[in-house]
């Protein structure tokens, strides 16, 4: 059993993401077995952070996430903020605070968790694609490898 280097050769961002995923998944399992406000809130916090942690694990290069720092930061804030906000409003069935035709808690769900990330994620992916996700040099290496393996070059 090798535990001396628990993550292998990974940078800071990936290390943090892996720690979050490991702790978060274990906490979620425990929370599913216990009742109570602490279990509920913990589940909200870790579930809402999971998607951003997974993206961070995938997109980091040499310990950095470059142009995705701001979009992913905003995504994390939206998910956590809306999740915790809905949790804090859970016992309130009052109809005093409304937004966009629905009570506030429902508005956080619809306009926050759903519409909030919609353009952010799609545009962030498209606009950073050539610089970060799949660069020209990556594609060239891929084509060379593909041609070298005998498959037809892609258009």
């Amino acid at each position: 059993m090798k535990v001396a280097r628990p993550f292998g050769d990974v940078g800071v961002i990936r290390r943090l993401a892996l720690i979050f995923l490991a702790v978060g998944s274990s906490v979620i399992v425990v929370c599913c077995c216990y009742s109570g406000i602490v279990a509920d809130l913990s589940m909200v916090v870790f579930v809402m952070g999971f998607p951003t942690a997974l993206i961070g694990l995938a997109v980091a290069r040499n310990g950095r996430i470059g142009p995705l720092t701001v979009p992913l930061g905003v995504l994390a804030l939206i998910l956590e903020g809306c999740g915790i906000g809905i949790f804090l409003l859970r016992d309130q069935n009052s109809l005093e605070l409304w937004f966009g035709g629905v009570p506030l808690a429902a508005a956080l769900l619809v306009y926050g968790l759903w519409f909030g990330p919609l353009l952010l994620v799609g545009l962030a992916y498209g606009m950073t694609f050539d610089r970060w996700e799949l660069r020209e040099s990556d594609l060239r290496r891929f084509e060379e490898r593909r041609c070298g393996s005998g498959k037809d070059a892609e258009k």
Binding site: V29, C33, V121
Partner: protein, 508 residues
């Protein structure tokens, strides 16, 4: 309120079914190899792929199951679908690029192929194939159940055939699905997905508009619901009628679990060019969100109309969408929407019969080190068998479409998401960790689901879960936990190394 079956609606549905059948015949002529049958020859542009991905993801679950679930539990049901705001980006960032690059370097037709390639473990890929077969039967069952309910309502078979009506309607609907999936494979699937995707988006947006008209706007609908004795203000609170654990569990399964859905991952193999990924998340996100409007719209309109006495309370919540369409939209539009809903159901059902047949015909034999000679022929034969088993499963499970679909989605999520998502991004994950994770996901999900629902064996304990906790959410978290802990304790052996193509893809 008795709903008259409209000849316009029936006519539209029949025309659509005929159109789909013709696409199946056209596609059959273009399906000449296993590569064509399983991944449409890897020749798809990004628009077709975007619509195919969206169509495959959206189904009777969204169009009928969603409004039905919302009728029963309120806006809490939206935790299932709101992740579409970011899941397309999550998919492309976490797995999309690597899946497509790998499929360009090796013969990758299925998710178990990816697992075999990544981990060099026939055990891991065999377990993945087994999980896919189980999940396929359940997911296909949910689609055929939705199809059956819709056919019943549109063709009015309930009055004629009584308690056997649903089974008959499911069999009738599944015959069309099996026909074009069998002859055309994935080529039929993706081109019908293009037709179906466009129809679904158009239908959803128009229906949402009619919901706002029928209900006098979102605020008026919300106020009617809040003032009613039957629903009350708790209906509009995300944690009002469902516990925090149930609602957040839904979000977890449907947000993170998307990374393990074979019908979505499969679409990345079909892209003609990796560059086509660039605007895929935006298009998928927007089209999926347009489709979800039907869940929100009918989900609020029907309770509001029931509260105002304009619609009878529903005996079966899954009747919400058909009842609204047939009662509050013009006949021609209802026909278009029924066709759109049929489209949604069939596109997903078609994806699953093909994926399930690939798992049985290709992946399971591979796990035993064998290969079937005529994969194309056997693929077609297995499609018929799978559909039959799925019909029986759905008929026996007897629950809301959305809940059957949740079980199926959760099975895929718990089994595959950690092994695929983390495994493609962290070298330390070994075949042992992947196998342990897949096994944990399947056993925990099935075990907890069984203990939660079974009533036959009284001596068996209840599922050891807190009130409201979802078996699938627990299984998904456990599966991640096992993968990460086992990877930490027993990392991949650096001497054995990764496949060079996998090494390359993980470096990009």
């Amino acid at each position: 309120m008795t709903v008259q079956v409209s000849s316009v609606v029936v006519g539209s549905a029949v025309v659509y079914l005929a159109l789909v059948t013709m696409v199946g015949i056209w596609a059959a002529q273009r399906t000449t190899s296993a590569k064509d049958f399983f991944i449409a020859g890897q020749k798809l542009g990004w628009i077709v792929t975007a619509f195919a991905t969206m169509s495959a993801a959206f189904s009777g679950f969204v169009f009928m199951g969603g409004p039905g679930l919302m009728y029963r539990v309120g806006v809490a049901s939206l935790f299932i679908c709101v992740p579409v705001g970011f899941t397309s980006g999550l998919l492309c960032w976490v797995v999309g690029k690597r899946l497509r690059l790998l499929a360009g370097l090796q013969e990758i037709y299925t998710v178990p192929d990816v697992i075999l390639c990544r981990y060099q473990s026939r055990l891991a890929s065999g377990l993945a194939a087994g999980a896919i077969v189980i999940g396929t039967i359940a997911y296909l069952g949910a689609q055929l159940q939705a199809l059956g309910i819709l056919v019943e309502t549109v063709f009015g078979t309930r009055a004629l055939f009584g308690p056997w009506s649903l089974l008959g309607a499911m069999i009738l609907g599944s015959i069309v699905v099996v026909f074009y999936a069998t002859v055309g494979g994935m080529v039929a699937g993706v081109y019908t997905d293009l037709l179906q995707g466009g129809l679904m988006v158009a239908a959803a947006v128009v229906v949402f508009w009619y919901c706002l008209q029928a209900g006098d706007g979102l605020e008026a609908m919300s106020l009617s619901i809040a003032d009613s004795d039957m629903f009350g203000p708790g209906f509009l609170n995300p944690f009002g009628t469902l516990s925090v654990k149930t609602a957040i569990g839904f979000f977890f399964v449907f947000a993170v679990g998307v990374l393990g859905q074979p019908h979505m991952l499969h679409k990345f193999f079909m892209l003609e060019n990796p560059r086509a990924l660039k605007w895929l998340p935006l298009v998928i996100g927007l089209t999926q969100s347009a489709c979800i409007l039907i869940w929100l719209g009918i989900g609020l309109a029907v309770p509001a109309l029931v509260s105002r006495g304009l619609l009878s309370p529903l005996v079966n919540p899954d009747d919400a969408a058909p009842q609204f369409l047939l009662s509050f939209t013009p006949g021609a539009l209802a026909g278009l929407v029924v066709a759109g809903v049929l489209a949604a159901i069939m596109s997903t059902a078609d994806s699953f019969v093909n994926i399930g047949s690939a798992a049985i015909v290709r992946d399971v034999p591979k796990a035993f080190g064998r290969q079937i000679r005529n994969e194309l022929l056997w693929g077609r034969i297995v499609v018929v068998g799978l559909a039959s088993i799925a019909v029986i499963f759905a008929f026996l499970y007897r629950d809301l479409i959305a809940l059957v679909g949740t079980f199926a989605f959760g099975t895929f999520a718990a089994a595959l998401a950690p092994a695929v998502a983390v495994g493609l991004n962290w070298r330390r994950v070994s075949g042992v960790a992947a196998s342990a994770s897949i096994m944990t996901g399947v056993v925990v999900n099935l075990g907890l689901e069984f203990l939660s629902k079974q009533v036959v064996f009284e001596w068996l304990p209840d599922a050891p879960l807190a009130r409201g906790a979802l078996p699938s959410a627990t299984a998904l978290a456990a599966s991640f936990s096992v993968l990460l802990v086992v990877s930490w304790l027993w990392p991949a052996d650096p001497k054995l190394g990764l496949d060079p193509d996998v090494e390359f893809v993980m470096d990009v």
